[in-house]
């Protein structure tokens, strides 16, 4: 069965495969499937194979090892790692930590108009629409995608770097309440 799992991971490539799909195809329970995945990964790691298994955006993928990175870049003539610019990164961060979120909420935190950046993020599949907020105008809500998690090598949203944004939210609520109390 581990051979079939290996084959599956090879076939799905970039797309990756979710645990549930593995369970269905191999006709195994969740525990057995996870065990198979773990065993295969251990096999790769112990035998120092070129590939290994990573869980990215809750999908299992067969990937090459980071330590061999230097060799692989020799396949390309001009190595120029394209990176997301600051405005893309901060917009993504704001969406990821507040999702689902509207464009104007992102604008407010950034202090600039974000429509262009969000459009580009939509095109690159890093964010997607997630319904509409039930307020006048019914603005579109955005959330991050599995591709976003993969891009940063994260298994799930829980793996996002932890920052104390919670305290800030409490502050906001306090001011909101106190302001209205004073008004009354």
């Amino acid at each position: 069965m581990d051979k079939v799992l290996e084959g599956l991971l090879f076939l799905v490539g970039d797309d990756g495969i979710e645990l549930e799909e593995i369970m269905n195809i191999l006709d195994k329970s969740k525990e057995d499937s996870l065990k198979l995945i773990r065993e295969l990964k251990t096999f790769y790691d112990d035998n120092d194979r070129a590939v290994t298994i990573e869980c990215l955006g809750s999908k299992y993928k067969l990937v090459t090892r980071a330590i061999h990175y230097g060799y692989y870049t020799k396949l390309v003539n001009n190595v120029e790692a394209k990176e997301l610019s600051q405005s893309f990164l901060e917009t993504l961060a704001i969406i990821a930590y507040n999702e689902p979120v509207t464009r104007s909420q992102v604008d407010e935190i950034r202090g600039v108009d974000s429509s262009y950046v969000i459009r580009r993020l939509l095109l690159r599949d890093f964010v997607c629409e997630d319904g509409r907020l039930d307020i006048p105008g019914r603005p579109i809500l955005y959330k991050t995608t599995s591709k976003f998690l993969d891009y940063f090598g994260l298994k799930s949203k829980e793996d996002l770097p932890i920052v104390e944004i919670e305290s800030k939210e409490e502050d906001e609520v306090d001011i909101f309440n106190s302001k209205y109390k004073e008004d009354v």
Partner: protein, 238 residues
Amino acid sequence: MEYIITIDNFSGPLDLLLHLLKKDNVKIEDINIEKITEQYLNYINKMETLDLDVTSEYLVMAAELIEMKSYVLLPVQVNNEEEENPREELIKRLIEYRNYKEITDELKLLEDERKKYFSKDISDLSPFEIESHDKTECVDVLIEAFNNFIKRQELDKPIDTKVAIKEYSLTERNKEIGSIIRKRKKVEFKELFDKFDRGYIIITFLSILDLSKKQEIKIIQENNFKDIFLVNKGDYNG
């Protein structure tokens, strides 16, 4: 030469403010509105003399800063406490923005790490799908679609139309004219065109020519512009 960071290096006015604070090693909480406003406006002005586009967001922030500065300079009024403190507001925004900016640094590291390993493209499994689908289902689907198309075509046709064109037959008309001429020996050409119907006229004319060709009748006109008569060949003499 002084090193100038252009406005393009900042993702927004908040970013610029953070930069200005950092340059002077000032904590966000200790922000001095008067000083920061001056620095900020200086910066914007410098950008404009360098002919760089200063987007509206920067100008909005400039206006807000000037407003805040005027607040600070005005003598404190009694009801001031009840109003929102614009300085606190700005500090809050800057802290929040800085938090996200810090996250982006971490994201950048993650991005770099993830760049170091690769997965390959998904294998093309479509030949599979075509075999299992096309051969059995797809042909049936096509046939069904074609049948439906034919049915629709049938419906599209006009409902049993009969365009009633009266058909004239040359042989029919030959017999008719032949018998008329045989009976009356001599018939005026015009007389045979008794119906004003294009088909009738044509077939009559054709029939006359045909009969004449077969030497069954003779066409006589005594002079130019005189009436034309048709006579039975056998009855004609001279």
